[in-house]
């Protein structure tokens, strides 16, 4: 293994366990270091990627053929106006690109969502519930229709709940609780999968395993010693 790879593994393990150190319940300098390092790196990376895109897809296109790509000059000017947001006197000029971005963003997300998020979903809920040739499918379809309708009535706030609406509201509430349990389990599966992947990176191969154990033990022992014997020092070292 070359020295560069070794330092990448060492530092990435230190950042990982530094962030995990918050699980000890003690605010500690390793967590503060890891957190600030990560935030600084993330900001740097985002800026570089955005800047690279601006140069390669905007400025280079404009310079290669300004007569054909003249609309991009207006895009560039609007983008530069965005930077005026921080100027005390001319910050109002930034409202123009913000208005354009807001209008476009809302319109782009809404125009297709009308179909995929509303009409197609309603269409998918209109299911055959009286097909007795396939009783299992008919029962499942009936349950889906009942679940969707009752959950929707749970979110009705503008009218008094009485009669069938009250019963539907109650059933919807119970169905919602059961579905929250199922959704929690799916969320847990997702986060657990992430954690397993992170642990796999830390433990396999053997070099990573040794580095991980060493770094984890050093951090844990340091936190315990600081907490127990040098609490003032610990307090000074955390933000």
């Amino acid at each position: 293994m070359d020295i560069g790879s070794f330092f990448v593994i060492l530092l990435s393990t230190a950042v990982t366990f530094g962030l995990f150190s918050i699980l000890t319940g003690v605010d500690n300098p390793f967590f503060a270091w890891a957190e600030n390092t990560y935030v600084g790196g993330a900001v740097g990376m985002t800026i570089v990627v955005s800047f690279t895109w601006i140069v390669s897809n905007l400025i280079q296109k404009i310079l290669s053929n300004p007569y054909v790509n003249w609309p991009l000059i207006i895009s560039l000017i609007l983008g530069l106006m965005m930077l005026l947001r921080v100027h005390p006197k001319y910050s109002y000029l930034a409202r123009i690109p913000i208005s354009i971005a807001t209008g476009v963003g809302v319109a782009v997300s809404t125009r297709a969502a009308i179909f995929s998020g509303l009409l197609y979903q309603i269409r998918a809920t209109i299911l055959p519930i009286f097909d007795w040739r396939k009783p299992e499918t008919a029962f499942t379809n009936l349950m889906i229709v009942v679940f969707v309708v009752t959950i929707m009535t749970f979110f009705v706030y503008t009218t008094e709940l009485k009669g069938p609406l009250k019963i539907s509201h109650r059933i919807g509430r119970l169905v919602l609780f059961a579905s929250f349990g199922a959704l929690f389990a799916q969320t847990y599966m997702g986060r657990l999968g992430l954690f397993l992947g992170a642990m796999e990176t830390l433990l396999i191969p053997e070099t990573n395993f040794r580095i991980s154990i060493t770094v984890a033990l050093i951090m844990l022992i340091t936190i315990i010693v600081l907490k127990r014997y040098y609490p003032e020092t610990l307090n000074k070292l955390v933000p």
């Binding site: 270091w33 740097g44 955005s50």
Partner: protein
């Protein structure tokens, strides 16, 4: 001129105009100039978003420099954050995103931090579940049963011990949880449509920074 640009009506006119050029070609067969304007608007929005990221860099730098100069508690960490951020920016902009120092910082600091931040949640989910999944009434029992069957269906060991966990868990996910998610999707879409209409009607100008509202709104 500046009073025109600052006026609510001017900004609302911009929003209505760009919205027209986005909605119209999507629903109606349009001539090429209108489709070109739509493409240009989408590209321009991406450009504006890229520049907006630079604004966040300025505000972050200003805030952290103030913390460092005033020697606020924890200022060395702010200094570390600034050094790393600006080092990556200088290296990335001058040498490119594939330069070794840039990739080193990304692989050593950013990528492991990103994955760990979300992986930590599994611990909080576990301890929160142990504390809050207490069966007090019918609702909490259903919450627990929903979670139980889906957890058992997800874990291969669960299906191995009792094969019916699989079909029950799948049924809960594909029907019960799916129905709830469908309602959330429909509700969110309706909310989005209402927001779009309110924006076009000039009722949501706070989104573009006009936070002072007239009483008759």
């Amino acid at each position: 001129m500046s009073s025109l640009i600052k006026s609510r009506e001017f900004l609302l006119a911009i929003i209505i105009a760009v919205s027209f050029f986005i909605y119209f070609p999507y629903f109606v067969e349009s001539p090429k100039p209108i489709v070109d304007i739509e493409s240009w608007l989408v590209t321009t929005t991406v450009v504006i978003a890229s520049f907006a990221v630079m604004v966040s860099l300025y505000t972050m730098t200003r805030r952290e420099v103030m913390r460092i100069t005033k020697r606020v508690k924890g200022w060395p960490y702010s200094l570390l954050m600034m050094i790393l951020a600006w080092f990556m920016i200088v290296v990335g902009v001058s040498l490119g995103k594939d330069a070794t120092p840039f990739r080193f910082c990304a692989d050593a600091f950013v990528l492991p931090g990103d994955s760990t931040i979300y992986a930590i949640l599994v611990f909080y989910l576990t301890s929160a579940a142990a504390r809050s999944f207490k069966v007090r009434d019918l609702e909490s029992l259903l919450l627990l049963l929903g979670a139980f069957f889906v957890l058992m269906q997800q874990a291969p060991l669960g299906e191995y011990l009792f094969p019916y966990f699989g079909p029950i868990g799948s049924w809960l996910v594909n029907n019960l949880a799916m129905a709830a998610s469908r309602v959330f999707t429909i509700s969110a879409t309706l909310g989005g449509i209402v927001l779009a209409i309110r924006l076009l009607a000039g009722k949501e100008m706070a989104m573009i920074g006009l936070i002072a509202r007239r009483e008759k709104d």
